[in-house]
Symmetry: C2
């Protein structure tokens, strides 16, 4: 679904994802998939409830096995964070702590700066049901809170990882925000488009559509705007020329040979 097929290989080394006391192997696998979707490859597991390695994780990862194969297992959070320089903790609730708190986009933009300085950055996610404990949060430098519909804000673990990971990926990605996908065609030059307008307007004059002289300038502008908005390709301009020619020929045929000179 809805990925990209650009061929350039993803390069950036991103934050470490730390799953703290995850409960279900399946969720670990789905997190690995979400991570790899976003170019994140370094997973750490702190005291997972189910034994590790875990078959459910591999089968739920949809092939993101490189993340699971390299995942490191820790028995406590302090060890899992030991070599990191800056750690974010994701949390859903207000914890009455004095800590910087970021939306994922701002956190991942900030993380990019730290990573470019050679620092190792991590993002912690808590257990499925309960989230991170206050003692876990006391090991973090900053919090990430994902703004969501306040009436229905419960995300599953892999979705939280995906939203944070996607903001990381976007910060690395150079896909233009919008573009006109050209298929196999090339864009029409303005000259080609204006030639089409001339053809169309000549035939509209000939058939009488533009016969009201005081309305003609406005009508011409409006018709041109339809095609200006379409940002035509050279092939589409040729198709439109063909449509006009054929419609006119049909009209001339219908009118019969006697009126062919009209």
């Amino acid at each position: 679904m809805a990925g990209t097929n650009r061929s350039k290989e993803f390069q950036g080394q991103g934050p470490v994802i730390i799953l703290v006391r995850p409960q279900l192997g399946m969720n670990i696998g789905m997190c690995a998939r979400a991570m790899l979707n976003c170019g994140l490859v370094e997973m750490r597991l702190v005291a997972p409830r189910d034994p590790w390695p875990n078959e459910d994780a591999f089968s739920a990862s949809s092939g993101a096995v490189e993340v699971l194969d390299k995942a490191r297992l820790f028995s406590n959070l302090e060890e899992a964070l030991a070599d990191l320089h800056f750690v974010y903790a994701t949390t859903a609730r207000d914890r009455h702590m004095t800590k910087p708190i970021f939306i994922p986009e701002a956190a991942m933009n900030e993380a990019k700066g730290r990573l470019q300085q050679g620092k190792k950055v991590g993002v912690m996610f808590g257990p499925e049901r309960s989230g991170l404990e206050n003692d876990d949060l006391s090991l973090a430098n900053a919090l990430i809170n994902i703004p969501l519909n306040p009436a229905f804000s419960s995300l599953n673990l892999a979705q939280a990882v995906l939203l944070v990971g996607y903001e990381w990926f976007k910060g690395q990605d150079d896909t233009p925000a919008s573009r006109l996908e050209m298929g196999d065609g090339r864009p029409a030059s303005r000259e080609e488009v204006l030639n089409f307008y001339a053809h169309l307007e000549r035939e509209l004059d000939a058939c009488g559509f533009l016969r009201l002289a005081d309305k003609r300038p406005g009508m011409v502008r409006n018709i041109r705007n339809i095609f200006n908005r379409a940002e035509l390709t050279e092939q589409e301009v040729r198709t439109l020329h063909g449509i006009i020619t054929e419609l006119v020929t049909k009209r001339k045929r219908d009118l019969g040979p006697a009126k062919n000179s009209l």
Copy 2:
């Protein structure tokens, strides 16, 4: 996991989500959950493979039943789109079509403008395995492509809905990108902080830590910077005063009564 607990109710009326020939009821339910997370409530189903209503959808929705209860069922895509004014189609592959193509963020920003004009906007998602057909795409005004790791870009349906929906939600949401969460405290004024610096530096002078006159100004600046970066609360300033006082008292006790006047 990682939602927000702001109490204001989400207001904006967002785009319609159209699932075209979805295969699994479970995925429909997970899409409903992702939609409601992002404040989207209008789902349309076009020719789902499994019968509708579907038990799996309800059980996978984690309580997003209001979306499923109101979901409208259509037998063909043309009918499902009939009352809409602008339709985006999500697609993973290059389709060799001449169409505007957006990343989700740009599409949802653009959609916001249309919705504010009173237009109805929809976003189509294709079946889990194959995505939308070219004939489906010919009914859309524009494409959405989600930039992801090109080496591993396969998203499940609900994740694609979540990423598009989240970009919609972000465009409505006024959560600051970053802030210092204050817990129950209030920020310390500069005066309170400077009083603490004076206390600390007085004691550091007294104990001899700042005895090197040529180093003193730089050391003082460096120490102040530690606490400046922390953006202290008034309670934290009081705690720090207490720490200094207690450390000094301990030192004086250790030195014994004869040296109390130091």
